[in-house]
Amino acid sequence: MLKWLSPILLSVLLAGCEDPNWHTSDISDIMPALDLSLMDENGQQVEEDAYTGKTTLLYFGYTHCPDVCPTSLARMTAAIKKLDEPARDDIQVLFVSVDPERDTPARLRQYTDVFGPQFIGLTGSTAQLDALTNRYRVSYGYGEKDENGNYDVSHSSGIFVFNEQGDARLLMRNSDPIPSMVSDLKRLMERG
């Protein structure tokens, strides 16, 4: 009974007031500012300055992942929907594919369109991807190809959150409930 009530209570509590605490993990002193050099879903080479000015969520995955990645992105879609309308224009989700062999810019654009206008697909060469994954201590790896050429890609599942200046601020995990994500995003967008 209590298990059921707690998320509801939390949502009610978080709905109105400015929360004095972070609910997800504070990584401000641990992780460096956003720095990347990748290809976006329009085939353009981009660097981090393309993304400063908005709160940024950074997530690593691949499109041939029908369960984990869409579920994580769907959580972000749900969290963004709980923000005020103007705030939804000040936030973006960078979906970085660590599977450049299959994830062309066109495929990335098709994929991110499912989740909302704030979602942007990016990928790059192994060197470019490794520069970014090493920077945030993220891992990824490829499984064996089956007889149809399909393979799995394992990847870190955390969401890195940067403020408008590109400073690393939060890490959101699968275990963080959506109300916690919403509360922290609102607080971050207010105070940077």
Binding site: P66, F115, N148
Partner: protein, 156 residues
């Protein structure tokens, strides 16, 4: 006394009728094979040739344990049972050859856990469509089911 008994019998019969009708109405959107049933079957559809995910609740109301070994649909070339895992912050996935479901138990295929992985789509599909999928069991049983096509953005 006889009248009272007759009235009771009539009310009981009407009650049975109502239950029967209700059961008939409720079974829309589900599937039965002997005493195996599937509820809440959804196909999370990604665009283009990207794979889809199948989620459902499988109830084994029979007296025997059953083993789910796969699934098949005309809408995709290959369907497999997969399981998503997360260990130390790393997400991964693996194919699962078989799942035992004990007599009287149910089994959930849900986001971030077990799911059907539908690969190489051959038929056009849209959110809101119904897709026929047959679940295959080790003893040769087949459970046909109707999956509702949903947007991945709603699966969280």
């Amino acid at each position: 006394m006889a009248n009272k008994l007759r009235t009771r019998a009539l009310t009981h019969a009407r009650g049975k009728w109502a239950c029967g009708l209700l059961a008939l109405l409720l079974t829309g959107g589900m599937a039965h094979a002997q005493e195996l049933s599937l509820q809440d079957a959804r196909l999370s559809l990604l665009p283009g040739d990207m794979p889809g995910a199948g989620y459902f609740s499988l109830q084994n109301d029979s007296a025997e344990d059953v083993t789910l070994v796969g699934a098949q649909t005309d809408a995709f070339k290959n369907t497999e049972i997969h399981m998503s895992m997360e260990k130390d912050g790393m997400a991964s996935m693996q194919a699962v050859p078989a799942i035992d479901i004990a007599a009287g138990k149910s089994f959930e295929f849900a986001p971030k856990g077990y799911h059907l992985m539908f690969m190489n789509r051959v038929a056009p599909l849209e959110v809101g469509d119904d897709v026929e999928v047959v679940l295959l069991f080790a003893d040769g049983q087949q459970l046909p089911a109707t999956f509702e096509v949903v947007s991945p953005a709603t699966m969280h």
